[in-house]
C-alpha cells in the first residue's frame, strides 16, 4: 500500500511538473554522456602511458670476451641491486639474429657478429629506473662513472629519454585523474542544483504537507522515488546514445586504431553499470538531501 502510494505520488509529481523534471532528466543525460565518453578515453590514455612506461629498462652490455662465469656473476650482482624486477640475458647470437632480420643487407656485409651479450634489466617500477641505473654505474675516484663489474663494457645511458617518458606519462595520468575528479564534482553539483530548483518550485506543497501532519519521510519518499525515476531515465537515454555511437562509430574504427581497441579500456557492460548507478544514486541522494532545507517548518 505504502510503496504503491509513493510510486503513484512520484508519477503524479513527474507528470504535473513536467518542465523541471525534464530539465533534471536532460542534465543527467548530458553529464552522463560526457562521463561515458570520458571514462574510456582516460582509461585508454592511462593504458597507453602504462605500456610506454613498461618499456623503460636499462641495458647492460658485456665485454665481447666475457665468459659464462663472469656473466653469471654479473647477473647475481644486478639481482642484488634494489628495485630490480627481472634480468634477462640476450646472447650475442640471439641479438645478431634479431638485428639481421631487421636489416639483412647491412649484417651480411658486416660478416662477423659485432654485438655483445646484453642484460635487459627491468625495474619493479618505471620510476625507479634511474636509481637502478645509478647503482649499476657507481662514480669512480677520477670523477667519471665506472661499472660495478670489470667484465661490463658499458651501461646504456638513456637517462634523458627515460626522464622524458616518465614526466610525460606522469603528467598524462595526473591530468586525467584531475579531469575525472572535476567532471564528477561538476556532474553532482549540476544534478543536485537542477533537483533543488524543481524542489524550490514545490516548497509550498511541502509546507502544506507538514501542516497536515505528514512525517518527514512520508514527504521525502515520493521525491526520492522521483529522483530515481528521473536518474534512471536520464542514464538509460545516455547509455542508449553511447551504445549507438559505439556500434556506429567506434567499432568500425577499432580494427584500424589500436588505441580504441586497447583491451585496457572499460568493457561496455561495466560502463553501463557505472553510469546507471551513478545517475540513480546522485539523483536520489540529491532529491532526498535537497529537501532537508524545505522540511524545516
Amino acid at each position: 500500500m505504502r510503496v504503491g502510494f509513493f510510486l503513484r505520488e512520484a508519477v503524479r509529481a513527474t507528470r504535473r511538473s513536467a518542465a523541471p523534471s525534464f530539465a533534471a532528466l536532460a542534465t543527467v543525460l548530458v553529464t552522463l554522456l560526457v562521463l561515458g565518453v570520458f571514462i574510456p578515453i582516460v582509461q585508454a590514455t592511462n593504458g597507453a602511458a602504462d605500456s610506454v612506461r613498461s618499456r623503460v629498462e636499462v641495458d647492460v652490455y658485456m665485454k665481447t670476451n666475457a665468459t659464462a662465469v663472469q656473466e653469471a656473476r654479473v647477473r647475481q650482482e644486478i639481482l642484488n641491486i634494489p628495485h630490480v624486477k627481472t634480468v634477462q640475458l640476450v646472447s650475442k647470437q640471439t641479438a645478431y639474429e634479431q638485428q639481421s632480420k631487421l636489416d639483412p643487407a647491412a649484417y651480411r656485409l658486416l660478416g662477423t657478429n659485432p654485438l655483445p651479450d646484453t642484460f635487459h634489466v627491468i625495474p619493479d617500477n618505471p620510476a625507479n629506473v634511474l636509481a637502478v641505473h645509478n647503482a649499476l654505474t657507481p662514480p669512480t675516484a677520477g670523477g667519471g662513472t665506472g661499472t660495478i663489474d670489470p667484465s661490463i663494457q658499458s651501461v646504456s645511458n638513456r637517462r634523458n629519454d627515460t626522464k622524458k617518458i616518465l614526466e610525460v606519462t606522469n603528467l598524462v595520468t595526473i591530468t586525467a585523474a584531475a579531469l575525472t575528479v572535476l567532471l564528477t564534482i561538476a556532474s553532482i553539483l549540476l544534478i543536485a542544483n537542477t533537483i533543488r530548483l524543481s524542489l524550490y518550485a514545490r516548497r509550498r506543497e511541502v509546507e502544506v504537507m507538514k501542516l497536515v501532519g505528514a512525517t518527514d519521510w512520508f514527504i521525502r519518499w515520493p521525491f526520492v522515488v522521483e529522483g530515481i525515476v528521473v536518474g534512471a531515465a536520464g542514464a538509460g537515454l545516455a547509455i542508449a546514445v553511447l551504445g549507438i555511437a559505439k556500434v556506429a562509430l567506434l567499432d568500425p574504427l577499432a580494427s584500424n586504431w589500436t588505441l580504441i581497441a586497447s583491451p585496457r579500456t572499460i568493457s561496455f557492460t561495466a560502463l553501463v553499470i557505472v553510469l546507471m548507478s551513478a545517475g540513480v544514486l546522485v539523483s536520489a541522494l540529491g532529491s532526498g538531501l535537497s529537501l532537508r532545507r524545505f522540511l524545516r517548518v
Binding site: 500500500m1 505504502r2 502510494f5 503524479r12 504535473r16 511538473s17 509550498r204 506543497e205 509546507e207 502544506v208 504537507m209 507538514k210 501542516l211 497536515v212 501532519g213 505528514a214 512525517t215 518527514d216 512520508f218 517548518v297
Partner: protein, 246 residues
C-alpha cells in the same frame, strides 16, 4: 483543551506574546481578536508547535508542547486541524485528493478514504466539485475545501487563522456557519480574526490581544449554546442589532 500559562514569545527583541495566560474548554467556540501585530498569529503558530515559546507552558489536547519532540510533531499536528487565510491547498491536486491527502498522511486505508472523503465533502457542500482543481474554485469554495481537509480526521481542536480574511461578507457567513456546525459536533474551535462585525454578531467568547497581552476575555453574553446553525446564519445575515454606543 488549550491551556496557556504565562506564555511569552520574543522575536529578536520584539514582543510577540507577553505573559499570556488563558484556557479554553473542550467544545468551546472562541474568537481571538486584535489588530495586526497584536500576537494572534503567534498564538496560532505556537499551538501547532511551528514556534517555540520563549517562556511559559502550553498544553494542547492533553500534550505539554514542550514535551513533544521534533520527531513527534507531525503526529501531534494530526490532533489539530488548521485553516488559513490563504487556504494553503495543494495546487496540483483535485478537491478530492486534497482532502484525501490528510488521511493518507496518517496511513488511512483506501477503503477508509473512500468512505470518509465524500462524507466530509457533502458536509461542506462540495459534492459537485470533487474533481475540480483549486484554481477552478471561488475563494469561498477553496476555503471550504481547506476546512474539509482540516476536519476530515475529526481532530478535537480546529484552528482558523483569519479564515474569512479574503472573502466577501456573504461567503464569510457561510464559512462561519460551517465552523459553527463543526463546533456543534463537539470540536473546540478557535478563530483568529479582525472582522469585528462578525465577532459581534456571533456572540461567542472573545479573547482580545493587544501588543502581545490578553486585554479582554469575555464570554460575550446572551447567546445560547445550542443555537442551530440555521438560526445562527439568520441572525448573522440580519442587520446589526448592536445597541448604539457600545
Amino acid at each position: 483543551m488549550i491551556d496557556f500559562r504565562g506564555v511569552s514569545k520574543l522575536y529578536a527583541g520584539d514582543v510577540g506574546l507577553d505573559q499570556a495566560t488563558f484556557s479554553i474548554e473542550r467544545g468551546e467556540f472562541v474568537f481571538l481578536v486584535g489588530s495586526t501585530g497584536s500576537g494572534k498569529s503567534t498564538v496560532m503558530r505556537l499551538l501547532i508547535k511551528e514556534l517555540e515559546p520563549t517562556a511559559g507552558v502550553i498544553r494542547v489536547a492533553g500534550h505539554d508542547l514542550d514535551q513533544v519532540s521534533r520527531k513527534r510533531v507531525p503526529y501531534f499536528r494530526r490532533n489539530v486541524g488548521v485553516v488559513f487565510q490563504d487556504f494553503k491547498l495543494l495546487p496540483n491536486r483535485t478537491v478530492y485528493d486534497n482532502v484525501a491527502y490528510a488521511l493518507q498522511v496518517t496511513g488511512g486505508s483506501r477503503k477508509e478514504i473512500r468512505a470518509k472523503v465524500p462524507d466530509i465533502l457533502r458536509l461542506t457542500g462540495l459534492s459537485t466539485k470533487l474533481h475540480n482543481f483549486p484554481h477552478q474554485l471561488s475563494g469561498g469554495e477553496q476555503q471550504r475545501v481547506s476546512v474539509a481537509r482540516a476536519f476530515v480526521n475529526h481532530p478535537p481542536l480546529l484552528l482558523a487563522d483569519e479564515p474569512t480574511g479574503n472573502l466577501d461578507p456573504d461567503t464569510s457567513i457561510d464559512i462561519m456557519r460551517l465552523l459553527y456546525r463543526i463546533n456543534r459536533t463537539g470540536t473546540t474551535v478557535l478563530v483568529a480574526t479582525h472582522d469585528q462585525a462578525m465577532v459581534d454578531k456571533m456572540r461567542r467568547r472573545v479573547l482580545e490581544l493587544s501588543r502581545g497581552r490578553i486585554v479582554r476575555d469575555e464570554a460575550a453574553g446572551f447567546y445560547t449554546r445550542d443555537e442551530t446553525t440555521r438560526d445562527l446564519a439568520r441572525r448573522l445575515r440580519a442587520p446589526s442589532t448592536r445597541p448604539p454606543g457600545l
